[in-house]
């Protein structure tokens, strides 16, 4: 009987251990799916200057690029073939290429010049990301905080489970219909910017019903960054908030001309309304290329760029639409040129490296960051149709780099 008991206890212990081991393994696997990985690796180059005051210029040949080959990109990007009034074809306003910390190519078109600001549309979302990185480093909030803590109307039903992280990764579950001209009647982005939501965009975002449990569904939603910017507003005084983007970010990295428009409620429109120069966009890209370090000082938290360039966990589990499948993958308010074997998806721009991450805006505004090539590429334009091919544009630039 005692032997039997001993055997039983042993048996129970073994079963418990197996169950425990299985649970831990499953948890790890789930955690593995949940956390994913980033392809970001900071370039090893030691910077010999920072472009806070001004960008320094080098010839393409000085950084291993070929000027003649770059002309092919110029011919592709800057040939406006259609009459202006038709708004058709490739309509580039500017291109800047920064390689190894130096501007090696810079060109403007139409009425745009080095000192003129350009609307960035959804590139603004990546600026919202940076401000949250800074605010988190200052301890104003954390990624795991519930959103309602900073936006009380979210303290209801399942909405109270939305976290800052969910909002950063477009996984809040809040209803969204991100169409522009294609379906104007139903578009939540149009409603937010121009009709029922425009006076208080965060309130409009927060008023949406949930179409999925927080954290379970990825869906690109422009109202989300505006909710984030209203939450940030609630962590400080009105005066501090008005100055915050300039004092903590723009002035620090030497961005000379930035306009950030607000809604009637005084919230910065974090989804869409930053206007700045192409050189300043390059500065912002350069901050992320350098892992959030500027002038040798850490501006963004350690690991922030890796977080921003890690695929949103809900992205893996969401059934993506055809157009979403054609887009790059998504991190935290940054787009990622990543292969996703788990979803049998190839990266959106096959001729660019898979560590490239991108701030992308409507009608052709881009900051491309390619750490493995130590490059930042800025593109602004007014591309109203699909003629401009991002992969072709990037390929022409990358092909101009001498054999590596």
């Amino acid at each position: 009987m005692s032997n039997l008991n001993r055997h039983s206890i042993k048996g129970i212990l073994v079963v418990c251990l197996i169950v425990l081991f299985t649970c831990i393994t499953e948890a790890d696997e789930q955690q593995g799916n949940v956390t994913g990985t980033s392809n970001f690796k900071k370039p090893a180059t030691q910077r010999d200057y920072w472009p806070t005051k001004e960008w320094k210029v080098k010839k393409p040949e000085d950084v291993g690029m070929n000027s003649q080959d770059l002309k092919k990109m110029e011919l592709y990007a800057f040939s406006r073939l259609q009459p202006e009034s038709e708004r058709k074809g490739i309509r580039t306003d500017s291109v800047i290429i920064v390689k190894n910390g130096y501007i090696v190519y810079e060109k403007y078109a139409g009425e745009f010049t080095r000192n003129k600001v350009h609307i960035t549309w959804s590139v603004s979302k990546s600026f919202t990301n940076a401000l949250f990185g800074i605010a988190i480093k200052e301890g104003k909030l954390s990624l795991s905080d519930p959103a309602w803590k900073f936006y009380p109307s979210l303290n209801r039903g399942q909405h109270k489970n939305i976290t800052v992280d969910h909002l950063m990764r477009m996984s809040s579950g809040l209803y969204s219909n991100e169409t522009y001209e294609a379906s104007p009647l139903k578009s939540t982005v149009n409603a937010m910017l121009f009709t029922i939501g425009h006076t208080d965009m965060a309130a409009y975002a927060a008023s949406q019903d949930l179409e999925a449990n927080p954290g379970e569904k990825w869906e690109y939603a422009s109202p989300t960054p505006n909710l984030l910017m209203a939450m940030l507003k609630n962590t400080m005084s009105a005066r501090e908030y008005e100055q915050y983007p300039w004092e903590k970010l723009f002035n620090v990295i030497g961005m000379k001309k930035v306009v950030w428009e607000r809604d009637v409620a005084g919230t910065f429109v974090g989804s869409s309304y930053i206007f700045t120069t192409s050189q300043d966009m390059a500065r912002f890209g350069y901050l992320f290329l350098n892992d959030g370090i500027w002038e040798g000082k850490r501006l963004l938290p350690q690991g922030w760029v890796a977080y921003s360039t890690t695929i949103a966990p809900a992205y893996y589990t969401t059934k993506l639409s055809k157009s979403d499948m054609a887009d790059p993958a998504y991190g935290a308010l940054w787009w990622l040129n990543r292969d996703i074997p788990e979803k049998n998806m190839k990266r959106a721009f096959p001729d660019a490296p898979d560590d490239m991450f991108i701030a992308m805006g409507h009608w052709g505004q881009y900051i491309f960051i390619i750490p493995s090539l130590d490059m930042v590429i800025v593109y602004t334009g007014d591309n109203r149709d699909d003629t401009f091919n991002i992969n072709t544009f990037l390929k022409l630039i990358i092909d101009s780099i001498s054999k590596r």
Binding site: K116, I119, P184, A191, L193, F194, V259
Partner: protein, 104 residues
């Protein structure tokens, strides 16, 4: 001839019924959409003129929407743009060189 007329009237009747149903079921969206054209146009023009500081000709090209505005005016002293379309009027106002334009 009478038969053809009868069929045409029937088709017309069915089309009117379908339009009516679509309108009724989407009434909220349609009503909410009405300020879209004037709102977008006035905001686009305001930012284009006073933030990007482009010419009015270029801004008109850039701000043009699929549905046209019935009228618009630019107040250069006040730095604002007012536009009307689909029976709605919207105004965007320039604040300063940091905060640009806001749709009122």
């Amino acid at each position: 001839m009478k038969k053809i007329m009868k069929i045409l009237v029937m088709i017309l009747f069915i089309i009117i019924i379908i339009i009516g149903i679509v309108t009724i079921t989407n009434w909220n969206d349609i009503n909410n959409f009405r300020p879209m054209v004037s709102g977008a146009f006035s905001k686009f023009m305001c930012s284009c003129l006073f933030v990007e500081q482009r010419s009015e000709e270029q801004c008109l090209q850039w701000s043009k929407l699929d549905l046209p505005v019935s009228s618009y005016s630019v107040d250069h002293n006040e730095k604002s743009v007012t536009a009307s379309a689909l029976g709605k009027t919207s105004k965007a106002h320039y604040t300063n060189d940091r905060f640009g334009c806001t749709l009122q």
